[in-house]
């Protein structure tokens, strides 16, 4: 029942909202109801044993309404519900065309939730594709002056990702021994012929690599995050980016473990390159939103290195990173939106001294510093826990890539301090003084996210406490600190050799 509710509540909301009058406050409240209920239901499912729901849909093509919640899906479902909730709360009071906006927001929620709950590859594909449509519209209708171009690029990359996934999923189902099946359980147990598995693996990695994204498949991301309105950027970075990491974990590692082990050094290399590339690009940005976008790209690179390591600890780090990154990037984009709303600019050279307690935006900038430091991996905040776990677990299998990620982490500190020094510190420009103060309705989403960032840093159980059994089952290598032994490609993927 909980599984169905998680999916149906936002779908109902998305269907109901277009029927209501175009009144912002009413629409926001109506949108909040399914988001809040979904979040509550998700929370209640945390820590429970795995549950599944099987419902035949179109058996001829292998499509079934197979849903499931396990240690991997449950925390991500809660995160998605939270990000949607916060996005609704963070939507400005003067949002244009609120009916369409909230409706698309909940439609995205349906797609995201469907993807993490799906236990059937075709169903996952449907949900994955469903996300693309409302998010493209959210990007194209609301956003900066270059939003049309951003939306075109986003949809092109999204379509390429979807096509690659379509090819990969169809091949997975059809090459699956006698008969065809798209059920996760069948896919996990299959053995593909070597030649075919290379192609299928390449398609899946391409698809999720485009979605994460990784270098050089990231062309859509800086422009999309940079041009999106703040609530949409929160949704894209906090919610939609989950799909890439989750997909790699579920499909590439889960269904093609031999291929993963075989290619993992290359994947780790791409991850390290992405980490360094994203952080380096962030250093030279003058637009805060683009800076945050490149920072997010760098964090995804680190996540890919940890995925490549595929030890129980590194995969725990991956789940923690998905959660922490979702919280931190959503917080950052919300605060950037507030800065833009109050000062009229997010160009670094045009801002200074915003920490000023009387005439600046001290509250916003105080939380902005916290979010930047969390992003830079300062201990005590949520960003540190996954980074540390991933460094520790990736060190032995991929020392060079991990070292590169550590250096990238240093670059993260450079752009964080550079940004805050210029925007928060310094003398307030007398031509731009007396900014309007933030009100509590604007502060609340930031306070909520910031609290979770702090709690996650002090109590890492919030980030890693739900997924251990699921990630251990998916792991392909042993822990580095208990003598790592890589599984030979021919060995069974589910047994860790002693």
């Amino acid at each position: 029942m909980a599984l169905l509710l998680l999916l149906l509540l936002p779908a109902l909301g998305a269907g109901l909202l277009p029927l209501l009058p175009e009144r912002q406050r009413l629409l926001r409240r109506v949108a909040l109801v399914p988001a809040l209920l979904q979040f509550t239901i998700g929370l209640s499912q945390l820590g429970h044993p795995p549950s599944e729901l099987h419902q035949v849909w179109l058996p001829r093509i292998g499509l079934a309404l197979d849903l499931g919640l396990d240690g991997l899906s449950a925390p991500l479902a809660v995160l998605i519900a939270l990000i949607v909730l916060v996005t609704v709360l963070a939507t400005p009071a003067d949002q244009a065309r609120p009916r369409l906006f909230f409706s698309l927001l909940l439609a995205t929620d349906v797609g995201l939730m469907g993807a993490v709950l799906a236990r059937n590859a075709l169903l996952f594909l449907l949900a994955y594709e469903l996300v693309l449509i409302p998010t493209t519209l959210l990007l194209a209708v609301w956003g900066g002056p270059r939003r049309a171009q951003a939306a075109i690029q986003y949809v092109m990359y999204g379509a390429a990702s979807g096509l690659a996934l379509l090819g990969g999923v169809l091949a997975l189902g059809w090459l699956n021994g006698d008969g065809f099946s798209f059920a996760f359980a069948d896919l996990a147990a299959m053995q593909l012929p070597t030649g075919s598995s290379h192609w299928v693996f390449a398609l899946l990695v391409l698809s999720f690599g485009l979605k994460l994204p990784v270098v050089p498949l990231h062309g859509w991301q800086p422009l999309a995050y940079g041009q999106a309105s703040s609530p949409v950027a929160m949704l894209l970075s906090g919610g939609v980016s989950i799909l890439g990491g989750y997909g790699l974990l579920r499909f590439a590692i889960g269904f093609l473990p031999d291929e993963w082990i075989l290619w993992s050094p290359w994947i780790a290399g791409v991850g390290a390159l992405t980490a360094a590339y994203g952080a380096l690009n962030a250093i030279v940005q003058s637009d805060i939103r683009r800076l945050v976008a490149y920072g997010s790209l760098g964090h995804m690179g680190l996540l890919v290195v940890a995925l490549a390591a595929a030890t129980p600890l590194s995969l725990q780090g991956v789940v923690a990173q998905l959660i922490a990154h979702g919280l931190i990037s959503a917080l950052l984009f919300h605060l950037v939106g507030l800065i833009e709303a109050k000062t009229g600019s997010i160009q670094i050279p045009e801002l200074a001294g915003l920490l000023n307690p009387y005439r600046g935006l001290p509250f916003t900038l105080g939380l902005f510093l916290l979010a930047l430091m969390a992003s830079a991996g300062i201990p005590g905040l949520a960003g540190f826990v996954p980074e540390f776990l991933m460094f520790e677990a990736s060190w032995t299998p991929f020392p060079v890539a991990t070292l590169l990620c550590l250096i990238a982490s240093g670059f993260t500190a450079v752009y964080a301090v550079r940004l805050f020094n210029r925007v928060g510190f310094g003398r307030l420009d007398n031509d731009r003084v007396d900014y309007p103060a933030t009100v509590w309705s604007e502060r609340f989403p930031a306070v909520l996210l910031a609290s979770l960032v702090v709690v996650g840093g002090l109590w890492p159980g919030l980030l890693v406490g739900w997924s251990e059994s699921a990630t251990t089952a998916l792991a392909l290598r042993r822990e580095p600190f208990t003598a790592l032994v890589a599984i030979a490609p021919s060995a069974s993927p589910r047994q860790i050799p002693s």
Binding site: A171, L175, P362, I378, A437
Partner: protein
């Protein structure tokens, strides 16, 4: 764990019940929590919350909490000495347990840790009282006092933790604390630059430490200092492979950054842009925090000849060069900050030579005199509105008491009997004499000591000697809130040799710490201090270097152009790489994406003109697509499946 401060006699306990006193030692883990609470409560004075009371109650609350921490530390130390058999006390809790990795905050309450905690909390109480006077007219009290308390909480936790992991965590948090505290007056451009450089330089050290921390776990299987020492005891010195030696070298980077050792020394100098009370703490107890971690790592570091050699080279170089640079500074705080680097260099030298006891003694005698000289000059800076040494002078007739305080502190920071500094440096000299390079290392120590003495006497001469200048002629009286803690600390520093002798840290033969090599050491102090006194106590033509040597002075005054070096090497490399990747993104990735996007749009437009409306055309297009897809699938589907 190693005993950092070797003492031979226990301090007598107070006249109260044993159970009661032991309670304070058992609960010593509360000490970091008092200032942490104060730091958290300070957030309530953020703009928009508490504003009707003004910022001062926040400062008083912080002072109260750090005083409680001091009182608890004192009671805990007395309790520990009354029950030496009960030590060490252990405490801990699990912070993270996942996928076979368990990280716990394990702590040990030992006598050295309690002594160090007493020093940290004591100096903090005095510094916060001093700060109330120093920042009398400032509006940033909550942020400043909150940051000071945060620092104290971090330092006390660092002293009590037995985990390398949490030592790293705390050092990172102190790096963030440094950024905030140096940036207190953030609307000044030099402050902003100082805060940035302090953060980034220390973060470099922290990240290298993190790399070492990550890499050492598969080797030792533990991050607990005690277990690491046991692991080290089971290894044969000099038998570690190069990869493990490099890991140990990485572990040294954290303390190197915190102790401002070359090449990570830039931050301490730049951090002088922060308010002076924070400088008092930073130069005395915060840099000592890095040294504390180094001492805990010493059993492991001693296994590697490479690491010990690096420690000796880095420590010796920093000691000598730091003292030289200090001599060329015209900013009072900077002159004293380089002396902090120099003293820590001596400590690194002792660790490199493999004697943690000597290093521990150097650590024990350092913080209080350093805090004292900084407080003394702080009163001068406030009352004379300048910290430029060339603009001061003649203050002996106006500020003799703080002059005496400065001299007392200076005496403790050079080899001058009966102060503790003499005994500690003499032990180091003796250690150098027993090393494989007695002349070279011994010479280093003697010259460094002479230069430190010269530097301190120079600062004294330029402030209190000579004739009054425009700035000092009407030197205003300073608030008692600054003078009182300075004089109290002077009393403590004066009593320190007595305490050290009484509790057997150093032997009194006949002077405190007298022994082999005492005479050449004393001569080096007298020579360095004497020459400096001749030059600087009265205006002397030779005090200005001959023009031929002016370049040298300029070079030293600008910290050997270290900042330029960093700008042209590390910063230029990072900026270059960043610009290159940005260019790549614009030209290649954006270019490709933009071009394909444009091509898609153009294609769509052109296609729109080709539509004829005939169904046959659409059907043909669909058919071609289906055929192409079928052909592709046939190539990848195994033939066995098709049969």
């Amino acid at each position: 764990m190693i005993l950092v401060f070797a003492t031979t006699r226990a301090i007598p306990g107070p006249d109260c019940s044993p159970a009661m006193t032991l309670f304070f030692a058992q609960t010593a883990w509360l000490v970091p929590l008092y200032p942490l609470l104060a730091a958290l409560v300070s957030l309530a004075w953020s703009p928009g919350f508490i504003w009707k009371t003004g910022p001062r109650p926040c400062g008083y609350f912080n002072l109260t909490m750090v005083s409680v921490a001091f009182a608890h530390s004192l009671l805990a130390l007395l309790a520990a000495n009354a029950h030496p058999e009960a030590l060490p006390l252990h405490f801990g809790w699990t912070w993270l347990q996942t996928a076979g990795l368990s990280i716990g905050f394990d702590g040990s309450i030992t006598q050295p840790a309690l002594i160090a905690t007493l020093f940290v909390t004591g100096v903090h109480v005095l510094a916060q009282i001093f700060a109330i006077g120093y920042l009398e007219m400032d509006w940033g009290w909550p942020r400043f006092f909150g940051s000071l308390s945060f620092f104290e909480a971090g330092l006390c936790a660092l002293l009590l933790t037995d985990s390398l992991f949490f030592s790293y965590v705390i050092l990172e948090l102190l790096t963030l604390g440094t950024y905030l505290i140096v940036g207190t007056w953030y609307n000044q451009s030099l402050v902003v630059k100082g805060a940035r450089d302090a953060f980034l330089t220390k973060r470099i050290g922290d990240l290298i430490l993190l790399a070492g921390l990550v890499a050492i776990l598969p080797v030792t299987g533990t991050w607990n200092f005690g277990a690491i020492a046991s692991w080290a005891a089971a290894q044969t010195p000099g038998s570690l492979p190069l990869s493990q030696e490099l890991i140990l070298l990485a572990l040294v980077a954290g303390p190197m950054g915190k102790c401002a050792q070359i090449p990570l020394h830039l931050w301490l100098d730049e951090a002088m842009e922060g308010p002076l009370p924070s400088t008092v703490l930073r130069n005395s107890v915060v840099v000592a925090g890095g040294a504390w971690v180094l001492l805990k790592l010493q059993p492991m570091l001693a296994l590697s000849p490479l690491v010990t050699t690096v420690l000796v080279v880095v420590g010796g170089t920093t000691a000598l060069v730091g003292a030289l640079i200090a001599l060329a500074q015209i900013d009072i705080k900077r002159a004293l900050s380089f002396l902090a680097s120099s003293w820590m260099g001596l400590l690194f030298l002792a660790v490199g030579l493999g004697d943690p006891t000597v290093a521990g003694h150097l650590l024990l005698v350092y913080p209080l005199p350093m805090a004292l000289v900084l407080m003394a000059v702080g009163t001068v800076i406030v009352s004379n509105v300048t910290q430029d040494l060339t603009q001061l002078g003649g203050l002996w007739s106006r500020r003799p008491l703080v002059g005496l305080a400065f001299l007392t502190g200076a005496g403790g920071l050079m080899a001058l009997p009966p102060f503790g500094g003499f005994a500690a440096i003499r032990e180091l000299l003796e250690l150098c004499s027993a090393s494989s390079q007695p002349l070279l290392l011994g010479g280093f120590v003697l010259v460094t000591n002479g230069l430190m003495a010269a530097g301190l006497v120079r600062v004294f001469g330029l402030i209190w000697g000579g004739r009054p200048s425009v700035f000092t002629r009407r030197s205003a009286e300073v608030l008692w809130l600054m003078v009182l803690p300075t004089l109290v600390l002077m009393g403590v520093v004066l009593h320190l040799p007595i305490l050290l002798a009484r509790y057997g840290v150093f032997a009194t033969t006949p002077l405190l710490g007298w022994g082999p090599q005492a005479v050449p050491l004393l001569v080096s102090t007298l020579l360095g201090g004497g020459v400096s006194a001749v030059f600087y106590l009265r205006p002397h033509p030779l005090a200005q270097l001959p023009s031929a040597l002016g370049g040298l002075q300029h070079w030293l005054a600008h910290d050997m152009n270290t900042e330029n070096f960093y700008q042209r090497s590390v910063v230029a490399l990072v900026v270059g790489l960043a610009r290159l990747s940005s260019w790549t993104d614009h030209q290649l990735v954006d270019g490709f994406t933009g071009a394909t996007g444009e091509a898609a749009l153009q294609s769509a437009r052109r296609l729109s003109f080709t539509t004829s409306g005939r169904t046959q055309t659409y059907t043909l297009t669909l058919l071609i697509g289906v055929v192409l897809m079928a052909a592709w699938l046939l190539t990848i589907v195994p033939t066995t499946l098709l049969r």
